[in-house]
């Protein structure tokens, strides 16, 4: 049994080592949990070693971006993000958001909130092949309902795709993922976004974490940052679906950033002059804390 709210503590550490000193490193990170009605970020500390000045701003998708530069030669770069987040159940699992029909999707085209998430983007393209695949899935479930179809698309990916690290890279395109049916959470999310958009369902890419509350920690992607999809359901807003774990997103999920695809939400993006990266080490730990006062209501 999951309670409808959770206090979670996250420690996300990204450690780069270079074989020889590098310089002029410029970086942008999206590591501060988002604020919404369903998620309150009680505390968040993003820090960098070598110690330097850090500054932050909001991007066009309202994600918080931390920016820093390290000009001096360095052989190691460590980015730590520690946060405490209170999450709430966004979806009433007794009453899933059915009732928004395909025939009404056209109105999303005119919503500013949805428009960017109906177009092609860097890693996502609405090709005729993807469109036919989407129609097949919709046809197989005999669905008139947007949530039902979205759910079926998620299930299709979960059942037919192979989860395998190393088969793809951070810049693998959704078309390739759909062709090879193999990848990790990022790829599954891109594929689902593409399939949804091809039939006019507004879909966006979400990066974040989740707390694996299963007894045997059987869910995929809890050891690193995770990615999933949100689809727009009129009357309910953006509803999260996780094709990697075949789950409707609940209070165990923590949203870091949302965007059209990975490119807009990448947790860490940067450039530097110097030697090739010799190792990258990412660890994510999410643990549950005793509930705070907000849970007492």
């Amino acid at each position: 049994m999951m309670s409808d709210s959770m206090r979670l503590r996250i420690h996300h550490r990204t450690e780069y080592s270079y074989s020889s000193p590098v310089r002029d490193s410029v970086n942008e990170v999206r590591l501060r949990p988002a604020e919404s009605r369903w998620q309150a970020c009680e505390a968040s500390f993003v820090t960098v070693l070598p110690a330097c000045r850090i500054s932050h701003y909001q991007d066009l998708n309202f994600n918080t971006v931390h920016h820093f530069e390290i000009a001096r030669p360095h052989q190691k770069l460590v980015i730590d993000s520690r946060s405490t987040v209170m999450t709430r159940e966004k979806v009433d699992f007794e009453k899933l958001p059915y009732g928004f029909l395909h025939k009404d999707l056209a109105k999303c085209q005119r919503l500013g909130e949805c428009h960017p998430f109906l177009q092609d983007s860097t890693y996502v393209e609405r090709t005729p092949e993807v469109w036919r695949l989407a129609l097949d899935i919709q046809h197989d479930t005999d669905s008139e309902d947007v949530f039902e179809t979205s759910y079926a698309i998620m299930e299709h990916i979960f059942r037919n795709y192979t989860y395998r690290a190393g088969a793809t890279t951070v810049s693998t395109h959704a078309n390739e993922v759909i062709a090879n049916k193999t990848g990790v959470c990022q790829d599954f999310a891109h594929a689902m976004v593409a399939i949804c958009r091809s039939i006019g369902i507004p879909a966006r890419y979400v990066s974040g974490y989740f707390f694996d509350a299963t007894r045997d920690h059987s869910l995929r992607g809890s050891e690193a940052s995770h990615a999933w999809v949100e689809v727009y359901i009129d009357g309910s807003g953006w509803i999260g679906l996780d094709p990697t774990n075949n789950k409707v997103v609940d209070a165990t999920y923590i949203v870091l950033a949302t965007g059209r695809d990975y490119r807009e939400v990448a947790p860490v993006i940067g450039s530097y002059f110097g030697a090739a990266l010799s190792s990258l080490n990412v660890t994510v730990r999410v643990e549950r804390l005793p509930d705070g006062p907000a849970a007492s209501k």
Partner: protein, 478 residues
């Protein structure tokens, strides 16, 4: 018991006004104490004091002739911190220890914060405890302050302020743990009903923090606690923590450095040591590097440390952060390294090192608290309003002579808490709070901290060496 309680003009931890209306989170406790007769209280107090004596929970006062070993006076009325307040404290202290650690890493490496003009170079380098030996040294896991005991006070409005950070060898956690044991025995009922967050995981968390630093992997690290010895004021605490963690307590002479590795002499021969929880100041660690006259340290220890063969908690050189001039810059550090506003504010601080502040301090000595930048435990301090003309002119001379070493702060009328006084009357006494922060793989703060109380009527000085006592501190679940 509380009928005659006077809140007066102070912020009171328990009562919102003089009419006796306790904050709701204090209500069960107030009811419980309200039902006690003075005789019952006297009886409980007797038992508690006896308990402390039996446990040997004592401390030492320096510079006094009569019997230096004392029981730390314990007040039975606990201090309660509601969860929402605690969350702010927890986040504020987390933010602070992160910033302090980044600062220490920075000043011993690239000095970005100095080059960017946020903190003047001479402030950092003239700090008594700045260690040039540490420049360019990479300490284990890049953590400097593993154990921090910041002192918090509350002003007239109840706002929490940081009074100082203790990033060298903060003490007091054993009293916190023992106070809790005594309270559980003296008031089992109200303790259970109140939903108090436990503190007994501290030794385990401390051990984890130490083990995290081990230079050797693939085995259980050998951690030891290095004590200056039985004459140290906190010796009880050293033995207590070593026992609770199940690690050896050693003195300098029990350790030996061979080929850059540290070994402990045991009855079964030498055992290599990975992590030293040292309760010894930098100055005494290694007579070859620091004070030659130190007989407490271990010759060659610094070499082993700099070679990364042994880890020290806290790291060498953290004393810069304890300097009261550095303290004044912590809010700037937080803005610089985190791009955030401080969650917990500092007490406003004047630095005699700045000329304009110096003349203000000298003109207002009778209204200010003057502190030496590198003293602790309530030593080297002038309480302006309670001072004599003579004391003030003495301090004025000292400030003119060495302005870098003095700071001044307005007198903050610390919050008060109902406290058992003479003949078991309950009166308001000033309190502070020292939470203990552990920085290992995670940053952990055990709920609450040590509440110190100035037992002398009207006194604002809570230090145990100056007639202070302590209370149990309860953070409630909700």
């Amino acid at each position: 018991m509380f009928e005659h309680y006077q809140k007066e003009d102070f912020f009171d931890e328990m009562f919102a006004s003089d009419k006796g209306d306790a904050f709701d989170f204090y209500q069960p406790l107030k009811d419980r104490f309200g039902r006690l007769s003075p005789e019952e209280i006297a009886e409980k107090q007797r038992r508690v004091d006896h308990g402390f004596l039996e446990q040997g929970v004592t401390f030492t006062v320096y510079g006094e002739d009569s019997g230096t070993e004392r029981i730390f006076p314990f007040d039975m009325i606990p201090r309660i911190i509601p969860d929402r307040e605690w969350q702010t404290i927890e986040q504020g202290l987390t933010q602070r220890i992160i910033a302090l650690n980044l600062f220490l890493h920075d000043i011993y490496h690239d000095e970005r914060i100095i080059k960017d003009g946020v903190i003047p170079e001479d402030v950092v380098k003239s700090a008594l405890h700045y260690r040039p030996e540490m420049v360019g040294v990479d300490v284990a896991k890049d953590i400097y302050i593993h154990i921090c005991g910041s002192d918090l006070i509350r002003d007239g409005e109840g706002k929490y302020l940081v009074l100082e950070d203790n990033g060298r060898c903060p003490s007091g956690v054993s009293y916190l743990l023992e106070n809790r044991e005594m309270m559980k025995r003296a008031f089992p009922g109200v303790y259970r009903q109140s939903g108090v967050r436990p503190v007994d995981s501290y030794p385990e968390l401390l051990l984890k923090t130490l083990q995290h630093l081990s230079p050797r992997s693939g085995m259980t690290p050998v951690c030891v606690l290095l004590t200056p010895g039985v004459y140290n004021s906190a010796y009880f605490e050293h033995t207590f923590l070593a026992r609770k963690m199940g690690i050896e307590i050693v003195e300098g002479r029990d350790l030996i450095v061979i080929d850059g590795f540290v070994y402990m002499r045991t009855t079964l021969g030498l055992v290599q040591v990975d992590v030293i929880y040292r309760r010894l100041d930098d100055d005494f660690l290694d007579p070859r590097v620091f004070r030659e006259d130190s007989t407490l340290g271990v010759p060659g220890l610094m070499e082993a440390y700099l070679r990364g063969n042994v880890s020290l908690a806290n790291a060498v050189g953290t004393g810069v952060a304890d300097d009261k001039v550095t303290y004044a810059y912590v809010p700037d550090m937080i803005r610089y390294y985190l791009d955030q506003d401080p969650i917990l504010e500092n007490v406003p601080t004047y630095l005699a090192w700045r000329d304009e502040d110096k003349s203000y301090i000298l003109d207002n000595l009778e209204n200010l608290v003057v502190k030496a930048a590198n003293e602790s435990g309530g030593y080297g301090m002038l309480m302006g309003p309670a001072s004599t003309e003579e004391e003030r002119s003495e301090f004025a001379d000292r400030i003119r002579e060495n302005p870098r070493n003095y700071i001044a702060q307005p007198v903050v009328s610390l919050s008060r808490h109902p406290t058992l006084c003479e003949d078991f009357a309950i009166e308001g006494r000033h309190v502070d709070l020292r939470p203990f922060v552990l920085y290992g793989e995670d940053i952990e703060i055990i709920p609450g901290g040590l509440t110190r109380v100035a037992l002398k009527k009207g006194s604002l000085i809570v230090n145990s060496s100056q007639g202070g006592g302590s209370k149990d501190t309860w953070v409630l679940f909700q």
